[in-house]
Amino acid sequence: MKKEKTGFIGGIKAEFSTMALVLIPICAGINLVGGSIAAALKLPLFFDLIGTVLAAALAGPWVAAMVGLLTNVFLALVSNPIYLPYALVGIIVGLVTGYMIKAGFFKNVWKMIITSLVATAISVVVASSITVFVFGGATGATGSSIITAGLVATMGSIWQGVLTSALINNLIDRGIAFIIAYMVLKKIPKSFVSKYQQPSLE
């Protein structure tokens, strides 16, 4: 079907086809079950990004942002409200990943790695900002809070400590999530990918 170009807002609206809308909750689910699979393999990882990357590649940045948002909304409702502020991380990572993929930064392994590094860097900064501004430095809810506190003490600065802790937490985890999403996407038949909006996986 022919798509008309209707500017920025029109483009966002066009992303949200019925199929994209159905994709969003399922990708939020993929974000969360990645963690269960990691746990079954006794890997200390969360992979809570695979679904977001898939959505970004299949349907675009704003759909991916929605996946990031709803993943955290689900956790806030079912598990703990402290996940709610971190929805911003999910949204921004979705947007960044989506726009980078749109710009062609997913076509080969190296470009994918660049995208994953950029997304990780941004998510570290945003997550740290939330930890510092909303929670004052640590949420107290996870084991990483203790690492954060330790780093704040050794580095003597709240910002440095929180950023370093977030970096340690995110770099490996997000990197592997990107690699998995990349490998799975390469295995999906082209006919499947083309059913969504964007032709971005040439």
Binding site: M1, T18, S191
Partner: protein, 283 residues
């Protein structure tokens, strides 16, 4: 009987495919009949179903030619929201036919009605009526995700019927169910047909098709191979050419015929088989 559905020169090519999935299909369905569609995998059965209900071209991209008319109205000019009250669809996987927005069967049945703006009072009336018919009135307040496949499929059928369409398209809707669940769905389909609904049924169980169909349409590699009364199709057509198994009862009759023991009508079900057997034995 009047024609309720008229398909003319229908062809469709999926946007990601080089070949047409269906080519130049023309047929009519009469009001109140059960028309079964049979054919090997990939013969275009599902494509026709999706084109009848409007998913082609509204949801599935590709090149479509030809027309589909319901009550002489060309459906190309209708939106999905307008089509859903004329023609309904039930397909294979029961759990993919839930809206995933509701926590009770009752709400699930109401979901489509809400989308087309049916007032709540009328929703309640319609749901009560449909629930009995679908034999789901006992679990109206249960969560649909906790039901068995057969039960969910009845909810799916109910969600379609509640929109009050004149035609119901069933695309292999029993193939993922156990025999009991499948039998129950077929009973309900017969009931619905007696209420005057026109049924378009895709199925690969030829025993069932022979028992239930008024007419049968055979598809082969995207083209219409034959459309005729059930007896004519199973009795006279060389079905093996289309990779379709003839029902066992019919097969027995044909074998008897080959051995010059039987020369009556083609046999479609157990009653006819018994009658024929009696005739053979006592003659």
């Amino acid at each position: 009987m009047d024609s309720i559905l008229k398909v003319e020169g229908l062809s469709f090519k999926y946007s990601n495919s080089k070949e047409y999935a269906i080519r130049d299909i023309s047929f009519e369905a009469k009001q109140g009949e059960i028309l079964c569609v049979v054919g090997a995998n990939g013969s275009g059965k599902s494509t026709i179903c999706n084109a009848l209900v409007g998913l082609i071209p509204h949801y599935i991209d590709g090149e479509r030619e030809g027309t589909v008319k319901i009550f002489n109205e060309n459906t190309a000019g209708l939106k999905m929201g307008e089509l859903v009250t004329k023609i309904g669809l039930v397909f294979q996987n029961p759990f993919n036919q839930l809206s995933y927005t509701t926590s009770t069967v009752e709400q699930e049945l109401a979901y489509g009605l809400g989308n087309i703006g049916v007032p709540r009072d009328e929703m309640v009336l319609r749901i009560q009526k449909i629930a009995k018919r679908m034999r789901i009135d006992k679990f109206l307040h249960k969560n649909p995700l906790e039901l068995s496949g057969g039960q969910v499929q009845r909810v799916a059928l109910g969600s379609s019927i509640v929109m009050d369409p004149d035609i119901i398209v069933l695309d292999e809707c029993t193939s993922q169910l156990d025999p009991m669940g499948s039998e129950e769905i077929f009973d309900i389909i017969k009931d619905l047909n007696q209420d005057g609904k026109t049924i378009i049924l895709v199925d690969h169980d030829m025993e069932k098709v022979a028992r239930i169909a008024d007419r049968v349409m055979v598809l082969h590699e995207g083209e219409l191979a034959a459309i005729d009364t059930t007896k004519n199709i199973f009795g006279n057509l060389a079905m093996e050419n289309y990779a379709i198994a003839v029902p066992d009862f019919t097969q027995i009759g044909l074998s008897l015929q080959d051995n010059h023991l039987y020369n009556g009508e083609p046999i479609m079900n157990e009653q006819e088989a018994i009658a024929a057997a009696k005739k053979v034995l006592y003659s």
